[in-house]
């Protein structure tokens, strides 16, 4: 363990290397450029490969090749660039190739702005590509968590042979915070399934991004479904903060959750019983944490997002089965959530009850 004061993007990049990542391909886009810049310097020093792709599409497909050959591989981008990468993410999921994609989210839609937002919630949690598949999508709220989750994302990717998404917003990628960096670990040996030449094997390996026929495709879909259901059972991560007796429960992830957490403390000092449910995996979503909210205790659930329209709110409603009224605080355009707006909303609700 090593402690350092680091910028978000650089800490994420360093965590990737420490986790065993030895291939990166990416295309410039703000606000994540420090990830490829850092890796262009750092990867060659550990025997890794950095390639600046000619496009997001090419970059994710380079990752598809490197991952298919058994190397821990990563790409990073930001919202508009991620749209372009999704073809590749779908193919990674289809061919069951492990990889990590970091999406430093900015405001949208379209070109949007280059400032922080949580605009890709649906895209990152529901359908990060065509054809019907899912990913584990990790949404850090602090730089330390971004480091830890990036480090772990490679393990998850290799465990399941699937793409894993780390989705910080632009704020977390841009801040400087002290972080404890995990230890370096050796990259894995070339796995038995990798396409790296059949020498020493009595069979060839084939990585196919589709079905040989309808039955084969159906069988692949069924196998994938089992994996997704296992995630729902075993891989959900959530932080609950002072929820036990809370009457006003915030639902927020990433930076919005970090802001809400401080609001919980502030409101509690005023005597208002506030709490927070923070999904860490926005996929699989922690529905159970919302289902566990108690009927006679909770007065309001306040969904707080840096996205207009709000996106996560639909999962929140589903989780709590529409048992409580929902209030909304949200912002967009790259404007950071103001804690005063959050506090004011709760005051308004308290008065109105």
């Amino acid at each position: 363990m090593e402690s350092k004061f680091m910028k978000g993007c650089e800490a994420i990049a360093e965590a990737a290397i420490r986790s065993g990542c030895r291939f990166f391909a990416g295309y410039p886009i703000t606000p994540q450029n420090e990830i490829p810049e850092y890796l262009s310097r750092a990867l060659p020093k550990v025997g890794g490969v950095f390639v600046q792709g000619e496009s997001e599409v090419a970059s994710i497909n380079m990752v598809y090749g490197a991952g298919g050959a058994g190397t821990m591989a990563m790409t990073s981008s930001s919202s508009p660039g991620v749209s372009l990468k999704l073809e590749g993410v779908s193919n990674l999921a289809a061919a069951r190739i492990p990889a990590v994609m970091v999406n430093v989210m900015r405001a949208g839609p379209g070109m949007g702005t280059i400032q922080p937002a949580q605009s890709d919630y649906y895209l990152m949690s529901k359908a990060p590509g065509h054809g019907g598949f899912r990913t584990i999508t990790l949404a850090p709220a602090t730089l330390q968590e971004a480091v830890d989750l990036t480090y772990e994302a490679f393990e998850l990717a290799f465990r399941d042979r699937m793409p894993v998404i780390v989705a910080p917003d632009g704020f977390i990628a841009a801040i400087m915070e002290p972080v404890d960096l995990p230890d370096y670990r050796d990259p894995p040996e070339t796995p038995a399934w990798a396409v790296a030449g059949c020498e020493g094997r009595d069979h060839i390996n084939v990585l196919l991004n589709g079905g040989l026929n309808e039955e084969d495709q159906l069988a692949k879909n069924r196998i994938a479904e089992e994996l997704y259901e296992k995630w729902d059972r075993e891989d959900v991560r959530v932080e609950t903060y002072k929820v036990e007796d809370a009457e006003y429960v915030f639902a927020a992830f990433g930076l919005a959750a970090r802001i809400c957490k401080s609001c919980v403390d502030e409101l509690r000092e005023e005597g208002i019983k506030a709490g927070l449910i923070r999904p860490i995996t926005i996929s699989p979503f922690p529905y159970a944490a919302f289902a566990a909210l108690e009927d006679n205790v909770v007065k309001y659930v306040i969904d707080v997002e840096m996205s207009i329209p709000a996106q996560m709110v639909n999962d929140v409603r589903l989780g709590m089965k529409d048992r409580f009224p929902v209030a909304q605080v949200n912002t967009a355009g790259g404007l950071i959530l103001d804690s005063e707006d959050v506090i004011a909303k709760v005051h308004e609700l308290v008065k109105g009850v």
């Binding site: 391909a25 497909n61 990752v63 590749g88 059949c198 084939v206 589709g210």
Partner: protein, 252 residues
């Protein structure tokens, strides 16, 4: 009894998946023979395209990976860069390489990826049923230009080998055809050269091979051979457009 001829080990015993008269089989066999002759099978990764060439998954007896449409050169980049000691080639058609994957091929060539590209140009989208390709000849009919390709409307055929030979980086760029026994033999020599370059670590090589599509041209297999000679080769002359093998070897 003495064995004088056998199927290359680099292809398997599956039934031939291509249409009757299609010369993908010829090109596949030439590659497989070269792989066998160079003893490369166990260190090779074949990068498949989307298109008729995807059917190679049923034929290649070597590790292989199927790319998204047009992305094979990017996929090959990821493999070769992380396994420089392995042998990596892409097998791509003209829609895959010349249209949707034009960016990927140009940049892989310009970066000088140490891979070999086999580009099978039959002037049509085969797998999707005969649409106009970037290499469809002027006046040649396709399902999306049913009165024939009109340069006023669709521009002229894209000359991939010549375009790539404009770049400074590539080591070997050449065009062959497989319409006559002589041309087939020459194509095999071209493939050998491209593969040798990779084995020597010299850089990027592309071999374009003019082929046919009896099904979608609506021409009998025998007549496609004359079509290639009389029409395709007029637009796409055979030849070596770049060969700096010796220069690259000297630099190395």
């Amino acid at each position: 009894m003495e064995l004088v001829y056998k199927k290359p080990e680099a292809i398997n015993a599956n039934p031939f998946p291509y249409c009757p008269g299609c010369m993908h089989g010829t090109v596949t066999k030439l590659i497989a023979e070269v792989i066998d002759e160079f003893g490369l099978r166990e260190k090779t990764i074949v990068v498949l395209p989307v298109g008729c060439g995807t059917l190679g998954v049923l034929l290649w007896n070597m590790d292989n990976i199927c790319s998204a449409h047009g992305r094979a050169p990017a996929v090959a980049t990821g493999i070769k860069r992380t396994h420089p000691e392995k042998f990596v080639f892409t097998y791509q058609g003209d829609g895959d390489l010349g249209a949707i994957g034009f960016s990927e091929i140009m940049y892989a060539a310009n970066r000088g990826e140490k891979i070999s590209v086999i580009f099978v140009n039959n002037s049509i989208y085969g797998m999707t049923g005969g649409q106009m390709a970037p290499t469809t000849l002027v006046g040649q009919r396709a399902t999306t230009c049913q009165d024939g390709r009109d340069p006023e409307r669709e521009g002229y055929p894209l000359k991939i080998a010549e375009l790539i030979a404009q770049l400074t980086t590539p080591v070997y760029v050449a065009r062959f055809a497989v319409n006559t026994p002589q041309n087939v033999r020459a194509a095999k020599e071209g493939i050998k050269k491209a593969f040798q370059n990779q084995m020597d670590g010299l850089g990027f090589s592309l071999v374009e091979i003019l082929s046919n599509c009896p099904t979608n041209w609506g021409v009998s297999p025998m007549a496609t051979l004359d079509f290639i000679k009389d029409q395709t080769m007029k637009e796409f002359p055979l030849g070596v457009f770049r060969d700096k093998t010796e220069e690259a070897a000297d630099e190395k």
